[in-house]
């Protein structure tokens, strides 16, 4: 009987044949290449969502990188895709608020919170139910609805989907620093969802549909790669790994405590580290493996670990059985 790996290979092969043709070995242009010799990532302990303490942790994390945000407009992009009062779907509002404060203290002229929710069109509900709306009022930060923001056409530097171009929000394209702030989660299609997959939320649903329909139609992995290669602005990534999500993520999984924040400029390196924190081999994740070839570093030999050791926080996340082959150790049984 064919297994999941065969299935995914066939899916990927079908998508590639449908969109690229078989004669194109490298579906990226030289302009898309951002891979460097080495990439730094930082793991810092953060036991809970106490906002005042998180401001210090985020400042410590930012301080481990050569970031100068003075005079720049920082755009934070949390994961706010859906709301379930029983779940841990979204980047915690206290972390978003703490990050707003941290970048202000670092000298940013403005810190904006921006998201284009993928499932829901009712932003008022999402913001209030999740608690982010109240946090934004407290901090005085502006929220930009990326699903309806003004857009500019961006020609893609890669051809994983064959879409050719995307309309992307001006708030993101004009950012002095764009910060992807995902939740540390498993994902029932892609294996993991972290900094790179979080960029689905910058693609305006008013044009591409809910739930980001054109991207799913064009291929999930290819879309992740095309969007990340297209976004040519200064970037940083902060992963909410205080409480992650295991199992049937990104919506219906269960909370898993890890107690860390993960920082880095290279989204591939950050996501590879996030995968390892969940005991998932990043090079077994299709889009991370491909991204490692041109967009950043997933190979741990090329990563410089700052802050705590990865091993000291590594947690054995449970995954759906079809992703078990990606694990570096067998999933623990649910408690």
């Amino acid at each position: 009987m064919a297994d999941r790996r065969d299935f995914l290979k066939l899916m990927a092969g079908g998508a590639a044949a449908a969109t690229m043709g078989c004669a194109d070995p490298d579906p990226w242009t030289p302009a898309a290449v951002r891979k460097t010799d080495r990439s730094a990532v930082a793991v810092l302990p953060a036991p809970d969502y106490d906002e005042a303490r998180l401001v210090e942790v985020v400042r410590d994390g930012i301080g481990m990188f050569d970031l100068d945000v003075r005079g720049r407009r920082v755009v934070l992009k949390p994961n706010l895709v859906e709301f379930d009062p029983r779940g841990v779907i979204n980047t915690h509002p206290a972390l978003v608020a703490a990050t707003v404060e941290a970048f202000r203290l670092e000298g940013a002229t403005e810190v904006v919170v921006a998201e284009g929710p993928g499932h829901r069109r009712d932003n008022e509900y999402l913001l209030e139910a999740s608690g982010l709306g109240a946090q934004l009022r407290d901090t005085g930060a502006r929220f930009v609805d990326l699903n309806h923001d003004a857009v500019r056409r961006v020609e893609l530097k890669t051809s994983f989907t064959g879409l050719g171009h995307l309309y992307l929000p001006e708030t993101v394209l004009d950012a002095g620093l764009f910060v992807s702030m995902p939740k540390l989660k498993t994902h029932h299609w892609a294996g993991v969802t972290l900094s790179m997959k979080n960029l689905f939320g910058i693609v305006p649903s008013a044009i591409y549909g809910w739930p980001k329909n054109v991207l799913h139609w064009a291929g999930l992995e290819g879309s992740i790669l095309d969007i990340n290669a297209a976004l040519d602005v200064p970037r940083f990534n902060i992963v909410d790994g205080i409480l992650g999500m295991e199992g049937n993520g990104p919506i219906q999984g269960e909370a898993r405590e890890v107690g860390i924040l993960l920082f880095g400029e290279d989204p591939v390196a950050v996501d590879a580290t996030g995968a390892r924190l969940m005991s998932i081999d990043p090079l077994a994740v299709g889009y991370l493996s491909k991204a490692d070839a041109f967009l950043g570093n997933a190979d741990d030999a090329l990563l410089e670990q700052r802050g705590d050791s990865l091993e000291s926080h590594r947690t054995n996340f449970r995954v759906l059985s079809m992703f078990e082959e990606m694990k570096t150790e067998p999933s623990a049984e649910p408690e």
Partner: protein, 308 residues
């Protein structure tokens, strides 16, 4: 975009006065106050002002006519110039202004030609080889309307297209009309959540049930206004009160109030809550405000859908 609003004074329907105050120089509205005009917000605001008998609706309909593409469709925004799902809302709005006019009927013909796509051949092949990997339990052969041309059919664009086409039933002579509406009805039945109501269009993923949303439930209920005998209609109406216990957004209250009114369900409680919320309108979404203006209309069937 946050901004201070200066209203023209208290009117019976506060949402209408908000809309009038926000109308752009070009006659349209953007998604948020101060944004460049786009089709969705303008179509809904035009509809709301027309139903309120406000002369400002005229300039809004002019904006819509000027923004229409040669194909009969409307773009999301004039700068994009590609046909979009918002065509349904423009046609629906124009059905109250000039239902037999060229603008509305050309738009309706474009809608009739616009179809959601099913799964591609290789995906169908893969799911035959790996039936256990078919993550969603949908009838992918049913054709409704997509958000973006060439992609899958979903609840909200299908609902809007059906609302527009059902409104224009007497004005568009096209053999495809009834066939497409019938298939749209069946698609909405197929996409209903197990316990009632609709979300964006996936009742189950990987065997686990997903929950319904008030706004998409209401959109589907409006599209099925003439199909009250279908079991998902009663189930959808039945699940709305529980959803509104956890959600009192202006969008949710407005659309659910309209769905209740259209189906003859007592909407008093929903409208009272909406009246309280509209005074503190804070979300800034123009489309939510326009739906609220319609919901606050004293006519329960202000959308004219009850009789198809």
């Amino acid at each position: 975009m946050a901004q201070t609003l200066e209203f023209r004074g208290i009117m019976p329907n506060l949402a209408v006065s908000h809309l009038i105050a926000l109308q752009g120089q070009d006659g349209g509205w953007g998604p948020y106050p101060g944004d460049p005009s786009r089709t969705e917000a303008t179509a809904l605001a035009a509809l709301a002002l027309q139903r309120a008998g406000e002369p400002a609706a005229g300039r809004a309909f002019d904006w819509l006519r000027a923004a229409q593409l040669d194909s009969g469709a409307w773009p999301i925004a004039p700068v994009l110039a590609e046909p979009g799902w918002v065509t349904s809302l423009a046609v629906f709005a124009l059905s109250f202004d000039e239902p037999a006019g060229r603008s509305a009927t050309n738009g309706a013909r474009w809608l009739l030609a616009e179809e959601g796509s099913g799964a591609t051949w290789w995906v169908n092949l893969l799911f035959r080889l790996f039936p256990q990997r078919k993550a969603v339990e949908l009838d992918t052969d049913l054709t409704g309307w997509p958000w973006a041309t060439g992609t899958f059919s979903w609840v909200e664009p299908t609902s809007y297209a059906m609302i527009a086409l059902k409104r224009l039933r007497g004005h568009v002579r096209d053999a495809r009309l009834e066939e497409r509406l019938d298939e749209g009805d069946r698609l909405l039945v197929d996409r209903a959540c197990v316990g009632g109501g609709w979300n964006y269009g996936n009742p189950r993923v990987l065997g686990e049930e997903l929950w319904p949303y008030p706004d998409t439930t209401a959109a589907a209920l409006l599209a099925l206004a003439d199909r009250g005998e279908l079991p998902p209609v009663a189930a959808g109406l039945g699940v709305v009160p529980a959803m509104l216990e956890e959600n009192e957004s202006i969008l949710a209250l407005s659309l659910c109030g309209l769905a209740f009114g259209t189906h003859g369900v007592d909407r008093t409680g929903v409208i009272e809550r909406l009246e309280g919320r509209i005074e503190e309108w804070s979300s800034g979404e123009v489309r939510a405000l326009a739906w609220a203006a319609l919901a606050l209309d004293e006519r329960s069937d202000v959308l004219g859908l009850s009789n198809g």
